[in-house]
């Protein structure tokens, strides 16, 4: 089998269209994960015991089952009870829920790492609960979280090909359809690999920079 550059250029627009969807799914999935994670974290830390425990159970359940199964469930099983979602939306919700459980743990650890004395100093200087969160707790809790969150973002990006299983026309799915109709796999699959590699390498450089910037442990 020979590498055919002409074929590469021919399928490039299709692949780029797929890449766009891949990136879109990653960005939207990350946004959902960020919010879902925050809700999980707050419920686990502040809600009354039964709710906190139920949240803990849900988080463990989501983490303990494969993302692919969850995607099938959202896209193929939910319609049985009348919830019909577009493929991309189902994919984004699946990614967001799954990675939201990981984000929740990062949030929780970050917030619990802020020493109790900071809460007390905020109270002693008469800040309200809201002011304490905004001006004292979160500014200290978030920077150490950033490298861990970015790590999950990269992991999620690399898992987006799973969305091809629920008909999302992301990069992998586009490459598969090109390959299936032309009977040539080498170019499309190589290009998918190359695209992911490039994006991952950029992300890794970015992550290093984030770690340099934020993860240094501050002396208190």
């Amino acid at each position: 089998m020979e590498w055919d550059w002409n074929f590469v250029w021919e399928i490039m627009p299709t692949l780029l269209a797929g890449l766009k969807i891949t990136i879109l799914a990653t960005v939207l999935g990350a946004a959902v994960a960020a919010v879902v994670g925050l809700i999980f974290a707050i419920l686990r830390m502040t809600a009354p015991k039964p709710i906190a425990r139920a949240t803990g159970f849900i988080v463990e359940f989501i983490r303990g089952t494969p993302l692919l199964v969850q995607l099938y469930f959202i896209f193929f099983v939910l319609p049985d009870i009348g919830i019909r979602l577009p493929a991309l939306m189902a994919g984004v919700i699946g990614l967001g829920l799954h990675y939201g459980t990981y984000a929740a743990e990062v949030y929780r650890a970050g917030i619990e790492n802020v020493p109790r004395g900071q809460w007390e100093a905020a109270k002693a200087t008469n800040l309200t609960g809201r002011q304490t969160w905004i001006h004292v707790i979160l500014p200290q809790a978030i920077p150490p979280m950033i490298p861990a969150l970015a790590n999950y973002l990269i992991a999620m990006f690399k898992e987006t090909p799973l969305l091809s299983a629920i008909t999302v026309l992301e990069l992998m799915n586009q490459a598969k359809s090109v390959a299936n109709s032309s009977y040539r796999y080498i170019e499309p699959m190589t290009m998918v690999g190359v695209f992911f590699l490039i994006m991952s390498l950029i992300s890794v450089v970015f992550l290093r920079w984030l770690e340099e910037r934020y993860a240094r442990v501050e002396e208190r």
């Binding site: 900071q118 007390e120 002693a124 200087t125 008469n126 800040l127 309200t128 002011q131 200290q140």
Partner: protein
């Protein structure tokens, strides 16, 4: 005689099965400098923390300037205080902690200006002017732009004092403020407190193991043991002529451990 600024009436504090304060009552006069001494675990720090509303109480009442601290009047009876009431009461009280608890992500100046700007709506320029005066008073005006991590323990504690003063509280609580400091840094913090005592009429409550300082600083000494006030009196009475055996034992131990009285 003036009405007491703090009136603690029969308060109890329990942590699970452990009773830390057991039916404690005491009064503090406006402007009074009070030192609380006693073995660790005797409940003296707990009193400061309760006055700062960092703890809850299991029973009893506290009045600050005639207003209930943990309760508020509603339809003719007293109900537990809500956040707004606590917020209003906390305005009267400031606290300095053993471990400073400065905000590590903010520079010295911002540590001092944050609360006045947020809680009292003081404009930035005015808050900074006042903060610089206070930093000058504690001898750290030149460190205004430094981060807390760049300061020594003694400097951090002086910033913490300036931060508390910036809210102009009527009552200041000092919780073992020199205990976490290297010995050579203790004096610079004590000097600031002496200055504060001389220049203001703030009411000050001090929990300390520095007996020499307590003797010189306080108008009155309270000796605590096992959640109760065992003995109280003027510094000379307590340190030179303690009546209770437990006070005598405690002071002997402290002196044996090398503390100056």
């Amino acid at each position: 005689m003036a009405a007491p600024i703090i009136r603690i009436d029969n308060i109890t504090k329990r942590y699970g099965p452990l009773t830390v304060l057991d039916g404690l009552s005491m009064e503090v006069l406006p402007g009074e400098k009070l030192a609380l001494i006693g073995p660790s675990g005797s409940g003296k720090t707990t009193i400061l923390r309760i006055l700062m509303t960092l703890e809850t109480i299991s029973g009893g009442h506290i009045e600050v300037e005639g207003d209930q601290l943990y309760h508020m009047p509603k339809n003719g009876s007293l109900v537990p205080a809500d956040d707004r009431h606590l917020q209003r009461m906390r305005e009267k009280i400031g606290m300095v902690f053993q471990h400073f608890n400065l905000f590590p992500h903010k520079c010295v100046l911002d540590n001092v200006t944050l609360a006045p700007m947020l809680t009292k709506g003081v404009a930035k320029a005015a808050a900074e002017k006042r903060a610089m005066e206070l930093l000058d008073m504690v001898g750290l005006a030149d460190k205004a732009k430094n981060m807390p991590a760049q300061l020594s323990g003694g400097q951090k504690q002086r910033v913490a004092i300036a931060r508390a003063l910036a809210l102009s509280p009527k009552i200041m609580l000092f919780d073992e403020v020199t205990s976490a400091l290297d010995p050579e840094l203790v004096e610079e913090v004590l000097n600031v407190m002496r200055k504060l005592a001389a220049e203001t009429d703030m009411t000050m409550l001090l929990v300390t193991h520095e007996m020499g300082f307590a003797h010189d600083f306080a108008d009155r000494i309270l000796f605590f043991d096992r959640g109760k006030i065992v003995e109280e009196g003027k510094p000379d009475e307590i340190f030179r002529n303690p009546r209770q055996e437990r006070t005598q034992t405690f002071l002997r131990k402290i002196i044996a451990a090398g503390h100056r009285v």
